[in-house]
Symmetry: C2
Subunit: 342 residues, 2 copies
């Protein structure tokens, strides 16, 4: 899922997001509840109509960004009180309010409020946050039964850090509550690729294989390939958009930092193996010039190319799985993208 933080996938027209192959995008509850505001967004007809996106939208609970972005905040059993990073205004996010907001936004897939802690942390602290997240899952489910509409779904979030016993306990408790989909949260927060992959491998077997499994906030192309190899179905990440704005292109020949002087007179297309029109049309020299000049078109072009690459990567994995050749595809693609075989 391309990330459309505040009601726009940054630097892309919605038609480009769709053309890149995206079926579903992500919106950030924390940002949207502060601006334009959940009740206002509902009065404006909901996020789909507001941003002219006619596909599904998944929203996070807002919890992760309350923890990482807001100023003063106080976590209790009830929820988390915080101050807006825009204007210092005070807000309270509870499991119930998060669901209410996500319903006001009109999100098709909603996420429970959870507590995502930094890694490494003490085991007791990780367990406490995991247990709290399970209790908040229950409360979220009851709230969703009140506010949710037909066709909408609420996913639960497995926590537990890199401790596989805690991950299993979290997964089993949430599966017992019977959600239509499960996320693996609390990863890509500093634990490293190997620990992340090991945690996924230890978590996924405890989640039902007939329901979507969503790895939140991940990741590099290598992360995606290795996570899919371990049973993950869905991802969201700002990497294609954020890196694009800052001059990095994800291509089928590997990652290019177009800011580098080596591209100043490179007239080859940015990625001749891409289906993105911009990857074929513009030279690396032009992209280098635009990025060095801090021109918006540089961000626009590279975000478009990267979003297309990520969608192509996922589509290629779906095709390889359907054809029963995922293992060979994985080895070839990792080599092609410049990753050492693991």
């Amino acid at each position: 899922m391309p990330v459309g933080t505040v009601g726009t996938v940054k630097a892309l027209y919605p038609e480009q997001v769709r053309q890149a192959g995206a079926d579903i995008i992500l919106g950030n509850t924390y940002h949207l509840m502060l601006r334009p505001g959940a009740e206002r967004l509902a009065r404006l007809g909901g996020l789909h109509s507001f941003m002219r996106w006619d596909g599904p939208i998944l929203t996070d609970s807002g919890g992760f960004q309350v923890m990482s972005l807001s100023g003063l905040r106080k976590l209790t059993e009830d929820g988390v009180a915080f101050q807006s990073h825009f204007d210092g205004s005070k807000h309270m996010l509870t499991p119930e309010r998060s669901i209410e907001i996500q319903c006001l936004i009109g999100a098709d897939i909603q996420m429970q409020l959870d507590e995502c802690i930094e890694l490494p942390s003490e085991r007791a602290e990780i367990e406490r946050a995991m247990q709290l997240s399970v209790r908040w899952a229950e409360r979220s489910k009851r709230a969703f039964e009140q506010y949710g509409k037909p066709g909408q779904a609420l996913f639960a979030i497995v926590q537990g850090g890199t401790d596989l016993a805690l991950r299993q306990a979290s997964a089993e408790a949430l599966v017992a509550l019977d959600f239509p989909g499960y996320a693996v949260g609390g990863l890509a927060v500093g634990e490293g690729h190997e620990a992340m992959v090991a945690t996924i491998a230890g978590t996924v077997p405890h989640l039902p294989s007939h329901k979507p499994r969503y790895l939140m906030g991940v990741g590099t192309p290598l992360d995606l390939i290795e996570a899919v190899a371990r049973g993950i179905d869905m991802f969201d990440c700002v990497m294609p958009t954020r890196n694009g704005r800052h001059g990095t292109a994800f291509t089928w020949g590997g990652r290019l930092n177009l800011r580098n002087a080596q591209f100043a007179e490179d007239l080859s297309p940015i990625d001749e193996r891409s289906t993105c029109p911009a990857a074929l049309k513009y030279s690396r020299a032009y992209a280098h010039h635009l990025i060095r000049s801090e021109e918006l078109l540089g961000s626009m072009i590279l975000t478009w190319i990267n979003t297309t690459f990520y969608q192509e990567l996922m589509a290629a994995m779906r095709a390889a799985i359907a054809d029963g050749r995922f293992d060979s595809w994985r080895a070839e693609t990792k080599a092609q993208l410049g990753y050492l075989a693991t």
Copy 2:
């Protein structure tokens, strides 16, 4: 002409510039000579190929921006020595070097180096700069005979501040040199709309009516209408793009500052009378949200709408002139755009 300062009309894809109705765009010699550099741009195949613009390009001489943007600079009969505002590197711009650079860029219409001074200034100072500009016009013409290619053209620039006798002297001296087109320079530098219009009215009659007359760096919709009424054929201005990036929409109902709170819940399209797809597709409330959130899509949408509006405005004037109804069109349109009749 939409302004493509450093090889991109800011926040627009070239296809959008074309779709907006633009036949020709402007590039800034000062910016391009510093980055990517004129010789490098020539090695890269010239500006058209570099930025994927298949229509004509006009470049300015670089003089205006040397005066307004660069650090230390020293003007002599020979030209102007200056330091780059990027890196402090030293450069010398003479009439000959300006033409050489514009030919390296591959500009279809090139402009002579001139000295544009601030207004108000002493008459003697205005006259000195005007006479210098005439001598530089001669040198530019000789340089263009050396560097220019078939199909390219060099325009001269009339100077003289708001002094009509100096404007007439400048125009007559330049017309005697026989250029294929003439610009009116040195306006929109603080003299105000009335003085600008009076200067145009006093200058245009001294320029041949069968050759293009180009008012440089102008202006508001009202400026364009009044200048066309006095015989101007061509314009360039950053207003549609710069204002778009900062939240102002030029519409057929007048100017809208979409940052204003009054638009926060305005679900009407940004401009229902525009032919720009974005003007019809997105609401004012969404544009307000994007601009308040400093989202790139806000700049993209409003730049697109404004560039389309300016092209539509010029197309409407051409049609009204061709139909012999320019006077009535002018009165109606000024009222529609919210300008008092003058």
